[in-house]
Amino acid sequence: MGAVKSLYTGAEITWCRLCGNFGLMSAFVWAVEELAESIPLERFVILSGIGCHGKIVDYIDLNSFYSIHGRVPPTATGIKLANPDLKVVGFVGDGDIYAEGVSHLIFSAKRNTDITLIVHDNRAYSLTTGQFTPTSPSHFRGKSTPEGPPEDPMNPIALMLEAGATFVARGYAGYTEHLKNIIKEAILHRGFSFVDVLQPCVVFYNTYDLYNRMTYRLEDVGHDPTNYEEAYRRAKEWDYNSKDTKIPIGIFYRTEKPTYEERLLHMSYD
């Protein structure tokens, strides 16, 4: 743990024991350390929205902007526009970004803003003690919907593919090394990179068992992430509702196109 400690602020960690956020934070810090030779630490800016996930910026000793619920994407975009040398990584929650901030999310993908968004998708509002989010299954019995939500979950992978994201991936907080590799690729990607991270909440929606049983890795089945149709087909395999279908994790899609910053600032291509 020596390496992690060097990037740690010393703030008291208030996530629950075994919270999926630990796996996610470890994967990110690991990725940053592995990238340290090419990207100096001072060039990172991390952001977060509001929810259990948001505390991550208090724990990691990097430049940060602890934003408000749902608003990470525009703030991140502003930072990147003002200083394109910075590597901007936004941590967001599923309620945070798929509900409150969904318009900003779609526009980040549409613009191909050169930022990375990592979604702590625990499929529950946990800091507000257990209500359903846009990715909760219809059998999720939350405090605002004791009989389960009267609506079906959205599929953020399919949404991002449709919205024009140039890097779309899903990771699992339980598989730290696999997630670390996805995050590294996402940070290195030029353009909008999106990673939906399945992150169990041990108090309000413990999904470790589900994800341990049902996930499989896209690279193990020879998935070609440059093929959009294939990416879309894989994205639709799991609808965030069923408990008995396989759940692909890994990089669904990646492609290149000019970024928002390049187009708006008239920056030259490398």
Partner: protein, 539 residues
């Protein structure tokens, strides 16, 4: 010579353009010009008019009743019958009829489009202004030949009734308040203008977008006003100056982030151009009824500055200052204007000068603490990307480093830090000569207290009617000490404003300032000179 001309016609018929060209010609002849633009929220049809006054002495308002009424269609004749006074000269379209009216061929470049050149031709001839004075304007329009032809035709069809002489020297350029705000922001070191379209702030967006390369700035149009202001905060956090522009409805969407700017101590300038509300209201008309909203918007306690220019010169200077103030105190500044100041045009003599004050920067000793507690409440700034520095900005209550805290002692200390900053801002504002401006008949013991664009009309009539005019340019922190000093000894204090509930009067009352009479207007229109004169004569 001083005359008021109304030019009326269908929306899309080039009425605004005709007014602006006429203003340009009169300005070139050495006159002071003021143009009020009245148009509905639509693109074609409807009824538009401009009311333009020119004079040998400085003016910033117009009369309701006109010396000359130019009606380019039948509807305009009916619409402006109420603006007629004894001796009003009418110029109407040759296809229409009205007793005693001069007829002119108001021809269109294309059906339904742009009668502006023919309107200009008719008016210039009426005034005895040489044809050549209008040519540079007409020939810079698209379809140049056609425009020049209809301009000459109208010029030759109308008799000369006046002799508008060329004066000695030009008094300034024709500029709108919005253009002055745009130029002021550029000269205050603007790096990014971020806005979502909303009347009447959009002209700033359009003006800056068109000239961004010349000004060396970037202009961004995001998905909505929430995206706008959060993007602007990101820009400022990374060290660049940002301004956003909107009207009341858009500002309502921004208020969540206004608090974030206050808590995270991120510099931001918000140009709020008021229009007649509530809600969608009357989008292309004016009001001063977002005042209390701007003073109180946002949750929690945090310092803010609200500054309200009255004149185009002040719009320029205060837009420039707003950026410097936001960065000096690391807090939101609301530049509060309105449709009347923003879209009216004025003869303005601007002395442009770049003023970009360096904010308090971190000197590099020890570990950087973004929210270091200092005597004046202002923490030194550093920006991400600097080696060995970690810059942590946050919406949560925080310690000096920017890490979340919730214990009572830390919460109290940080609240007090921000309140210390407010005290520093208050001292700064009181030290400014222009925190309160005094005009009109300065020795009079009859006082009008007013604010924003309403002061333009008030000052134009006050001297003649024997009123002293007091108007604070800074509304938060409110320079009450200065207002008290200026108001001392007044026998009668009148409060003039464009608000049905008397929002400005409420602000005065909150600060212990009592007024004897209120003059309020709330029909979406500004005060006109003749109208305000008769109101003041009655009270």
């Amino acid at each position: 010579m001083e005359k008021t001309i109304i030019i009326g016609g269908k929306a899309g018929a080039g009425i605004k353009e005709a007014g602006r060209m006429l203003a340009g010609v009169l300005s070139n002849l050495g006159y002071y010009v003021f143009g009020y633009v009245d148009y509905p929220s639509l693109i074609r049809g409807g009824h538009n008019f401009v009311s333009l006054t020119f004079s040998e002495r400085p003016i910033r308002s117009t009369d309701r009743k006109a010396d000359i009424i130019v009606a380019t269609d039948g509807r305009s004749i009916k619409a402006h019958l109420e603006d007629e006074k004894e001796g009003t000269v009418w110029i109407i379209n040759e296809k229409e009829s009205k007793e005693g009216a001069i007829k002119a061929p108001f021809k269109e470049v294309a059906p339904g489009f742009f009668k502006s050149s023919s309107v200009l031709g008719a008016i210039l001839k009426l005034f005895g202004i040489p044809l050549e004075e209008g040519l540079p304007f007409v020939t810079s329009l698209p379809q140049r030949e056609k425009n020049e032809q209809i301009y000459r035709e109208a010029y030759n069809a109308v008799p000369q009734l006046y002799e508008v002489k060329t004066l000695d020297g030009k008094r300034g350029d024709i500029l709108t308040g919005n253009e002055c705000i745009a130029l002021g922001s550029v000269d205050g070191g603007l790096d990014f203008y971020v806005a979502y379209p909303m009347t009447p702030a959009s002209p700033v967006l359009h003006y800056l977008a068109k000239r961004k390369d010349e000004f060396g700035i970037k202009v961004v149009h995001p998905e909505n006003e929430i995206g706008v202001i959060n993007m602007a905060l990101g820009i400022a956090y990374a060290g660049k100056r940002a301004m956003v522009g909107t009207s009341g409805g858009g500002f309502a969407l921004m208020t969540e982030t206004l608090s974030l700017a206050g808590m995270s101590e991120t510099p931001i300038v918000i140009y709020e151009a008021q229009r007649a509300g509530p809600s969608t209201g009357v989008p292309t008309y004016t009001a001063q009824a977002d005042l209390l909203f701007c003073l109180f918007a946002g949750h929690g306690d945090f310092p803010r500055v609200v500054v309200a220019p009255s004149t185009p010169e002040e719009a320029y200077a205060l837009a420039r200052d707003s950026l410097n103030i936001a960065w000096r105190f690391q807090t939101p500044v609301i530049l509060l204007g309105d449709k009347h100041l923003g879209e009216s045009y004025f003869t303005v003599s601007l002395e442009r000068k770049k003023v970009v004050e360096e904010p308090k920067l971190w000197e590099g000793n020890g570990d950087y603490r973004r929210y270091e507690i200092t005597e004046d409440g202002i923490s030194p700034l550093a920006f991400p990307g600097r080696e060995g520095v970690v810059v942590k900005a946050t919406s949560y209550e925080h310690d000096e480093r920017g890490v979340t805290v919730e214990d009572a002692e830390s919460v109290r200390r940080m609240q007090e830090k921000r309140m210390n900053k407010e005290r520093t801002i208050r001292e700064y504002i009181l030290s400014r000569e222009d925190s309160v401006v005094v005009g009109g008949g300065k020795e009079s013991d009859k006082v009008i207290i007013t604010w924003g664009s309403t002061a333009c009309t008030v000052e134009d009539v006050a001297r003649e009617l024997g009123y002293r005019v007091i108007r604070p340019l800074f509304l938060e922190p409110f320079p009450s000490e200065r207002v008290f000093k200026e108001i001392e000894g007044a026998k009668e204090v009148l409060c003039v404003e464009l608000s049905a509930s008397g929002q400005f009067e409420k602000l005065l009352n909150m600060n212990g300032i009592r007024v004897d009479r209120s003059v309020r207007k709330y029909d979406g229109r500004p005060f006109f000179r003749d109208e305000l004169t008769s109101i003041l004569r009655e009270v």
